[in-house]
Symmetry: C2
DNA sequence: TCGTAGGCGTACCGTACGGTACGGTTCGAC
DNA sequence: GTCGAACCGTACCGTACGGTACGCCTACGA
């Protein structure tokens, strides 16, 4: 099925990006109450322009989500000179990036929008978010994990399973609770605990998948 | 802040339950395209009756979600005669229940609805879903975990952390992918793997939190 | 038998919003 | 200077939907 996501192939003009920014801002503020009129007013452009550029409301929404989601760029971790210490540092970095992203206001908004979209038999936004979120991390993490295995620092049969376990250990119930608007999880609250959670998740991951050599 | 959720205190009449069933069906089918007219037609009742019974659209939605969510009943596990074998069986049962629930069509629908709702500054549905989903499991699992610790079968400092790790190991990225409409995760696909996932998650949980005595 | 309550079906109202049309303005090309 | 393209602002249209009103039917108690 090969979901192909066009990203920035045809870059948006600065003016268009300003419009997308306005759309995202409204999305973050008012949730799904995004109306074409509101975007036009916020971006000081005419509705006609919106329709010319993005086709229809869905097109604008898709462009916004795609444009924002593509901005999430996980720092590349190099796999040269891999040893127990650098491996752990890399894993920790991935955990940190993952937690930082999913707890961000923008990510929450995009995920909510995509979930709402998916509730109407449309999976387009969902795919975009998946592709630029979890799957992006997976693409980058897997090679690291496999390098770790090759260096006899990790042990697993399926790197897919190892990745998903990592995801679970890091994310736990944080994302779903944030998406559901759990008041007990304030932004500050979560962010303050990120470092501890990162450390804890990494530790647990190494307990499950590390070899004896991993804490050399 | 003590979020109190009234559940079935004032039970719905059979007729009302029929209406709620109709509403849920529409929710599952059409996603968020739930209109009062559609519910009225489906339930063969008048819109006026809907408004008399539920106040407004939000009230109907809330009643539907609340009523359905409360139906999710995790089988009670007794903590008498706790030993390594029964503890493992209990944990496995929780994992199975959790996975079964979150992969169900109804649960996906309710969660999507609640997320959509949360995108509009309303956390009411989110709280209901949280309360009857993850938190319900937590309430029932924690005593088991603590009993396991008392019996020196488990070791942890915070039962809250232990619970959340359990949640992560079991759910991993399944729920968010389902909510986002990931086509790669079909219902059948997931359900076929539940048993393997349950076993795997339980094993990992015991590796992390079990004492030497746990596999007696 | 009559009155009343509950409820069905339908018509109706108001509004919000997606989408279109159009006049007016800016600006660059020639 | 003139033309045209791009675009702003606003007015406008059609429709979908939340919410209300009302006429009619049925059941039931006096």
């Amino acid at each position: 099925m090969a979901v192909t996501i066009k990203v920035n192939e045809e870059t948006f003009t600065p003016r268009q990006q300003a419009v997308l920014t306005a759309a995202l801002d409204l999305l973050v503020e008012n949730g799904d109450g995004l109306t074409m009129t509101a975007v036009a007013r916020r971006a000081s452009c005419s509705k006609e322009t919106l329709y010319k550029w993005f086709g229809d409301r869905d097109g604008l929404l898709t462009a916004t989500v795609q444009w924002q989601a593509a901005k999430v760029r996980m720092p590349q971790v190099d796999r040269t000179g891999l040893n127990a210490k650098t491996l752990r540092a890399s894993i920790e970095q991935f955990a940190r990036d993952l937690l930082t992203v999913i707890t961000g206001e923008v990510s929450i908004t995009l995920n909510r929008t995509a979930v709402t979209h998916a509730a109407q038999e449309k999976d387009r936004l969902g795919n975009i978010v998946l592709e630029n979120g979890p799957l992006a991390i997976r693409r980058r993490l897997k090679p690291i994990l496999e390098a770790g295995r090759d260096a006899r620092l990790l042990r697993f049969t399926s790197s897919e399973d190892a990745y998903r376990t990592f995801f679970g250990l890091v994310v736990r119930d944080v994302q779903i609770r944030l998406l559901l608007g759990d008041k007990a999880l304030t932004q500050a609250n979560v962010e303050a605990n990120i470092e501890a959670d990162v450390k804890s998740a990494t530790d647990q991951f190494f307990v499950l998948y590390g070899t004896k050599a991993h804490n050399a």
